[in-house]
């Protein structure tokens, strides 16, 4: 009976799962070391991240889970919603301990909630695919700023690499300060030390932009305004599909100077 603390990474979490089996622990709660609030009466135990142990848990999970749910543990972990560790821990224990697949047991609160959280994270992933807007700079790089609610940028790499195979691109997560860069051969993670774009709305400084960039932004905005049917105005529907927090990155929704 203890509070288990881990370093906040997914590997750390999987190590916790491993140790729970190995040391026969029954955790009261799991939480990040940084999020732990001191409590006089509770025994706490820090678990040190071990890549090998984490790997073993991950591989056996992959073997157990249905192909639709292979990414579920990682996706829901990325949501960082409060109490997610304990829900996920209970879910993983059931997956391992049960003789048959329990992944569709939606009568169980943990399974249902994890499914719902997974849906949220996947929706955020989809919205990156929808609302990324590249700006072409003079050196031929297509740059796009994003600010996703969850850290889901890595899940979109395959899509963009497949789609924009013949152009240099960089998608940068402003909030978490890292980006994915594609150099026509492979993608890699980059951190920009010197930022040539606005920290708020990700606009690249005008003198660095390709000459035609502004033309196309204007054309796109003109198109966007004219494809609308004013008689059918429906702001609620628009916001439902395209919440305001994405607008600042969209040329069609932000004023052009």
């Amino acid at each position: 009976m203890a509070f288990l603390l881990y370093d906040g990474t997914f590997e750390g979490f999987l190590t916790v799962v491993f140790e729970c089996y190995a040391q026969k622990l029954a955790p009261v709660d799991l939480c990040k070391e940084t999020a732990f609030q001191k409590n006089l009466f509770i025994k706490k135990l820090s678990i040190h991240t071990d890549e090998q142990k984490a790997g073993r848990v991950w591989r056996s999970l992959q073997a157990k889970l249905h192909r639709q749910n292979k990414n579920l543990p990682l996706l829901v972990f990325l949501s960082e919603s409060t109490g997610i560790e304990m829900k996920l821990y209970r879910f993983i224990r059931r997956v391992f301990d049960s003789g048959r697949s329990i992944e569709t047991d939606f009568g169980d609160q943990d399974v249902l909630e994890l499914k719902k959280i997974e849906r949220q994270v996947l929706r955020e992933t989809m919205r990156i695919l929808q609302f990324v807007r590249f700006q072409q700079s003079r050196d031929g790089l297509f740059f796009a700023p994003v600010e996703p609610e969850f850290d889901v940028l890595p899940f979109t790499i395959n899509h963009f690499r497949e789609r924009f195979a013949d152009q240099l691109w960089l998608i940068y997560d402003i909030k978490r300060d890292y980006g994915i860069f594609y150099d026509l051969k492979e993608t890699r993670e980059v951190v920009l030390s010197e930022k040539t774009f606005s920290q708020t709305d990700g606009k690249v400084s005008a003198n660095l932009l390709e000459e035609t960039e502004e033309t196309y932004q204007t054309l796109w905005k003109a198109y966007f305004d004219h494809i609308n049917i004013p008689e059918r105005e429906n702001e609620k529907l628009q916001l439902q599909h395209m919440p305001r927090r994405y607008w600042k990155f969209l040329p069609e929704k932000s004023p052009i100077k």
Binding site: I102, T104, D105, F106, G107, D108, Q109, L112, M126, L129, Q130, F131, V132, R133, F134, Q135, Q136, F142, A144, H159, E162, R163, F164, A165, D166, Q167, T212, Y216, T218, L219, W220, A222, Y223, F224, H226, I227, N228, I229, P230, E231, R232, E233, N234, E235, K236, L237, Q238, Q240, H241, M242, L250, E252
Partner: protein, 435 residues
Amino acid sequence: MEQTLQEKLKILADAAKYDVSCSSSGNNRQNTNGGLGNALSCGVCHSFTDDGRCVSLLKILMTNHCIYDCAYCINRRSNDRPRATFTVQEVVDLTINFYRRNYIEGLFLSSGVIKNPDFTMERLMLVTQNLRLKERFNGYIHLKAIPGASPELIRQAGLYADRLSVNIEIPTEPELKRLAPEKSFGTVLQPMNQIKEGIQLYKEERRKFRKTPAFTPAGQSTQLIVGATPDSDRQILQLASGFYHEQQLKRIYYSGYLPVNEYDKRLPALQSPPLVRENRLYQSDWLMRFYHFRADEILTPEQPFLDLDIDPKLAYALRNLHLFPVDINRADYEMILRVPGIGVQSAKMIVDARRFRKLNSYHLKKIGVVLKRAQYFITCNELPVYRGNWDPGQLKNHLIAECHTKRKKPGDTQLSLFPLIPALSAPAKQLHFKS
């Protein structure tokens, strides 16, 4: 006077916006070695206009000049409107540059008919050919097949495009003759049949030779205008059902008639577009495509129009109260799908989850069933049967009243007078508090 590209784009986007088709789904086109773009079978919407419709494809007309004079169309010959024509290269450039910036999923190209159908179709075909061969573009392309164009041109277009569509617009032949004397059902159905046969033929071929190219892999769609003619919803749905089954159409779009040509006395004078009716038709369409309903189950000969107050699924349940209540823990998937308040997703989850334990109303609520509606039509472990003393009319009124109270915003009631004068009410409270 030479028009700028931007002026042309404005005019031709304006002219294209009444075509409601927008989807970019149905095909997983791969990016060929180092080209540009691909297509996702789920489709992606890249933006949403102020009317709430999605922008997935760059939807434009090649030209809004037209030799026809159809009463319902904004681009008819006799309308005095600014006209413009794109060159093939302009459309190609716009598509590629928008696509590279991730603004769009691909191109939706339609056109007014200039000179003759063949000439028009050829230009559309040229755009797709240039995009696919010259630019190595593998994004989504939706092309209009121009009625009356030669089969060979349509066949070629089908080899480059992901989806082809022919708009039928008016649901019945006599009405079409009245509003568009130059058109007939025959000219519309001819390309439709050709595309359908093409798809089947190429599918057969593909079974034998793997290298056979795909022919309109995302299928074909069409559009019907609702409210421009006195045709009943039943006629529209019967037609739609026929299209889905016999022509194997992927989608039918319903477009609430907007009074674009008010001076034409052949058309009804409407205050606003029939949006609710359009919505009910889409709901019925969904019932046919995802809920396994037949057209004649949604509307009977005695009731040719959809009820605007309640959705068609609820209307069906009220007409067929003898089929309910449905036992959530025993009934088959098909029957659970028919319960108002249970959607496809919930129905699937119910069928999956009940293998583990008996479900009760708490579980259903958590799963996402709208119990407010569903409770009158289901039994589960402990839920009492609400049906006994309801007759259909009563239950209908009851449900309408309930959904009205839910929709009502705080500002809708008479009491809202008070928040209008906060200066009077708020400080008084504070004073009271202080004393």
